[in-house]
């Protein structure tokens, strides 16, 4: 299982993706045939741990259990149905070409590689596009109520970064409906007795035995009991780490603890600085703000983004005549207009606000105006398409978007980075698989809209169930009990020690207070625009914040009870470490690509300027015991099918 090999030519540590070669359209088929199978009657001898119950974790757990494996599923919420996949609004891509508009598997692959600004692995992305069509079939069969046309066939809409209509949706609740489909499949397996569900449980460490992932240590969030669970393989589907920024569109509980603890046990972390800032969120109103709310990108289909041409123009929007408005996306990108990819839309919004042309409190907002669409299509059509989003907006802001343009501003939304995995979704720790947003895989440096749901379900329904079988067939079933494994007891002791240490903190600041400070540092220096000087400032500040945390916060309560302060403290302690790795990664990558915009690397007209000669690789970082000095491993990226070019959406 030696997957880290020294390359003689460069003396750099390179990583092998284990991706197949040959014609790209045959690679997954060939690999599937090569994969070892576990005999159907032997599957029940294996136990698999699944951490997370969202689209990736839920769909994978249900599918594995249908195959006959025993699965233990853990989630921190009170039910698997709450996972944050539920909040995805807009849709899910699939290369069905139902519109006859020229879509194909190859085009979805092409768009995704290009949208990711040539920092993803071609083989993975092609496979993703291939299985996208099966996902829609599966979800429809489960009873997911996708939008339909009058003839009864599936409706689609177009989404940012694509010129075809390939996004399937269920009003603005697509994530909810897909998650409920996976959740119901999971509940069916729980009833069948092959999935054991552990709700309100948080994974706090990974147990590695003889170099293999063999279990996890969890805390029962109701009783405080620390438990060790052993298995033949461990799968993390625990989502992204956007909450490093304090304010994001993630749920309050979303955290990096599972992947970060696995990283500290040896799993490499891929492209940690690749984060997605979503252009259409409701602007911040004040320091009290606990989270940001996304307005689906689908709104950009009918909404027009603008700001006043003049700086400091404080007139209400309806008093600003047409000729004094700057529809800056339409002006700069005539062919994609308001539908440019998220990174481009976000950066342009920041730019016009930095010029002093932003609207709303603090000048941190741009208009998203539906007046034209309402005139053209009528209010009722707009209500049918976006009614729930409009309601949500007016609830939060107290304004009526049918009458007054929405105000939007970018916010942290998704993390493309995550634990490094090979083509078979296995991390650098054998037996540890990582799926969905928690891995780094398919989106490169920028994720296209409606691709997160696609990737989560692709990994869970159609990829992991095959690849994990290959691993299990290779190693054989070998049940272990925690009592016979010193590594399990050590991990458990470490978890208890950290909890004791957190509960002994009786300083003068709250955990949220430090988290908010960390968020400001990350947003200012590792957000939409990054520079050498800024990142160095962040790298000075983050260790100080860590010290302030471990010396200055107070954590009330005890372990043996529901203790939300303790939960939060453990998560923020991990964010304070991960943040440093993100900044180190951002500093080392002196090029701009996708959502990673280095101010030093831009084209004359301000677009992200890649440096393919030096940075066409995945940066996978190894924990060395010293947070300030992780070791870099590189997975070189080669592009045989989509030739890297400067992305242009003009």
């Amino acid at each position: 299982m030696a997957r880290l090999t020294k390359s003689a030519a460069t003396q750099e540590v390179t990583l092998d993706s284990k991706a197949p070669s040959g014609p790209i359209e045959e690679r997954w088929d060939h690999r599937r045939f090569e994969l070892k199978l576990v005999n159907p009657t032997n599957k029940r001898k294996y136990r698999i741990i699944m951490v997370g119950s969202g689209l990736a974790g839920g769909s994978a757990a249900a599918s594995l259990s249908e195959l006959g494996y025993n699965v233990d599923v853990f989630c921190y919420q009170d039910s698997p149905r709450r996972a944050h996949s539920i909040a995805a609004q807009g849709g899910i891509n699939a290369a069905k070409n139902y519109r006859n508009d020229g879509d194909s598997i190859f085009r979805l692959f092409y768009d995704t590689v290009k949208g990711g600004d040539f920092r993803s692995r071609e083989s993975n992305v092609y496979r993703l596009a291939q299985v996208s069509v099966d996902i829609i079939d599966q979800c429809v069969a489960q009873g997911v109520p996708f939008a339909r046309e009058y003839g009864g066939l599936l409706d689609t809409r177009s989404f940012g970064g694509a010129q075809v209509s390939r996004t399937f949706y269920a009003r603005g609740q697509t994530g909810q409906q897909l998650l409920l489909g996976a959740y119901q499949a999971l509940e069916r397996q729980i009833a069948a007795g092959t999935v054991k569900m552990h709700t309100r449980h948080e994974m706090l460490d990974l147990v590695v035995v003889d170099g293999r992932a063999r279990g996890i240590v969890t805390r029962d969030m109701v009783t405080g009991e620390i438990e060790t669970h052993m298995a033949d393989a461990v799968v993390l589907g625990s989502g992204g780490y956007g909450n490093v920024f304090y304010l994001s569109t993630n749920a309050m509980g979303c955290n990096a603890t599972a992947i970060w603890r696995a990283h500290k046990k040896g799993a490499l972390f891929g492209n940690p600085c690749f984060t997605q800032i979503h252009p259409t969120c409701i602007p911040v109103t004040g320091d009290h703000q606990s989270k940001l709310t996304l307005m689906s990108e689908s709104l950009r289909n009918d909404g027009r983004v603008w700001v006043p041409k003049k700086m400091g123009d404080n007139r209400p929007p309806h008093q600003i005549p047409e000729e004094e408005r700057d529809y800056f996306l339409e002006r700069k990108y005539p062919s994609f207009g308001n539908l440019v990819p998220r990174d481009v839309a976000s950066r342009n919004a920041k730019e016009v606000c930095d010029q002093g042309r932003g609207v709303g409190p603090g000048g941190r907002g741009v208009y998203l105006d539906f007046a034209d669409a309402i005139n053209r299509l009528g209010k009722s059509v707009i209500r049918e398409r976006y009614g729930n989003l409009f309601d949500m907006y007016s609830r939060i802001t107290g304004e009526n978007p049918y009458e007054v343009p929405m105000r939007i501003y970018p916010a942290v939304h998704y993390t493309m980075g995550g634990l490094w995995v090979d083509y078979q979704l296995m991390s650098t720790i054998p037996g540890l698989f990582v799926i969905g947003e928690a891995n780094f895989s398919d989106h490169g440096a920028n994720r296209l809209g409606a691709s997160a749901l696609m990737q989560g379900l692709a990994d869970g329904y159609f990829i992991l169930p095959y690849t994990i079988g290959d691993f299990l067939a290779t190693v054989g079933a070998n049940p272990l009990s925690p009592a016979e494994v010193p590594e399990a007891q050590e991990a458990e002791a470490g978890v208890r020690a950290q909890i004791d240490r957190l509960l002994s903190l009786k300083g003068k600041r709250t955990v949220d207070d430090i988290h908010r400070d960390l968020g400001h540092v990350m947003w200012d220096y590792c957000g939409m625009a990054r520079s050498d000087a800024g990142l160095r400032k962040a790298l000075d500040r983050i260790p100080e914040l860590r010290q302030e945390f471990w010396q200055g916060v107070t954590v009330p309560g005890v372990n043996e009870s529901l203790n939300q302060s303790l939960e939060k403290a453990g998560r923020v302690a991990d964010f304070l470490e991960l943040a440093e790795l993100m900044c180190i990664d951002a500093l080392h990558r002196t090029e701009s690509c996708g959502g990673h915009f280095r101010e030093e690397s831009q084209t004359p007209d301000g677009e992200a300027l890649r440096d393919d000669v030096h940075f066409s690789y995945v940066a996978a970082w190894e924990y060395t015991g010293n947070l300030a000095d992780p070791r870099l491993h590189k997975e070189p990226l080669s592009f045989e099918y989509v030739h890297p070019t400067q992305r242009s959406y003009k």
Binding site: Q77, P80, P145, L153, Q173, Q177, H288, D391, S561
Partner: protein, 252 residues
């Protein structure tokens, strides 16, 4: 604005519990209700007291995790909204606000405002799904579903599983939650093969979990943040009768 909060505090399931009074100071009308509670909790933490435990996750009204009774109304006064979407502009300076957990036999209190709603998952396990294993699905467009049918299914499928319907019901019945799932799957062609067993098994499970019966009062639908209609209950009752005595010649 400044507010007085009367909040239910309960250490654990078997603790008797009590109402405590707290002050919420300098609250902005732009805050959400839960952000107001965050601020009170920050103060409590700094005073060395345990903050008020309450569930919340997405804070955008879709995950169904939050659920508290505000002045006697689950999720508070804003119709069609969850507690996390309720904003403080609904209140005025000097108000006293009473905050309690869901109260129902089937939802035991874990701590303060946090309750155990796993009974909802148990109801879904009894049949709230279509039995289709991964890989077995036919081509998605091979079974047309009329637009109106899809819309009806989605209206019912919009349920977020928060439990407000149970909390408000004088009988602590989970009929609205259950019927939303029965109708979502029952109107779609994919849900037909298991339609009759589904309703029978779910109702049997529902009754065994300590939820009460439905007496068509309708408060459930009035407080439902997803605005699930009472029509779902009628739909379910029809399916239940069909499952007991057969559907006869009546169209499905």
């Amino acid at each position: 604005m400044n507010l007085t909060l009367r909040v239910w505090r309960q250490q654990h399931e078997s603790d008797e519990g009590r109402m405590n009074t707290y002050l919420a100071r300098d609250i902005s009308p732009d805050m959400s209700f839960l952000e107001m509670l965050d601020i009170v909790n920050e103060e409590l933490t700094l005073q060395g007291e345990e903050p008020i435990a309450f569930d919340s996750d997405c804070r955008e009204g879709i995950c169904g995790m939050c659920g508290i009774v505000i002045n006697g109304i689950p999720h508070g006064p804003d119709r069609g909204a969850t507690a996390c979407q309720l904003h403080m502009r609904w209140f005025k300076d000097g108000d006293t606000i009473t905050i309690e957990p869901w109260r129902a036999k089937a939802f035991p209190v874990i701590k303060d405002l946090v309750v155990n709603r796993s009974a909802f998952d148990t109801i879904i396990q009894a049949g709230g799904y279509v039995s289709v294993s991964t890989g077995a699905a036919p081509e998605a467009n091979s079974v047309p579903v009329g637009k109106e049918t899809a819309e009806r299914a989605l209206d019912a499928a919009a349920c977020i599983g928060c439990g407000a319907c149970v909390a408000v019901c004088p009988n602590a019945s989970a009929m609205l939650f259950m019927s939303a799932k029965v109708m979502h799957l029952g109107v779609l062609p994919q849900g037909q093969p298991e339609r009759e067993q589904r309703v029978a098994r779910m109702i049997e499970t529902h009754d065994s979990l300590g939820f009460g019966s439905c007496t068509n009062i309708g408060e459930c639908s009035a407080v439902c943040p997803a605005e699930i209609s009472m029509e779902t209950i009628a739909f379910m009752n029809r399916d239940l009768i069909a499952s007991r005595i057969g559907r006869g010649t009546e169209p499905a």
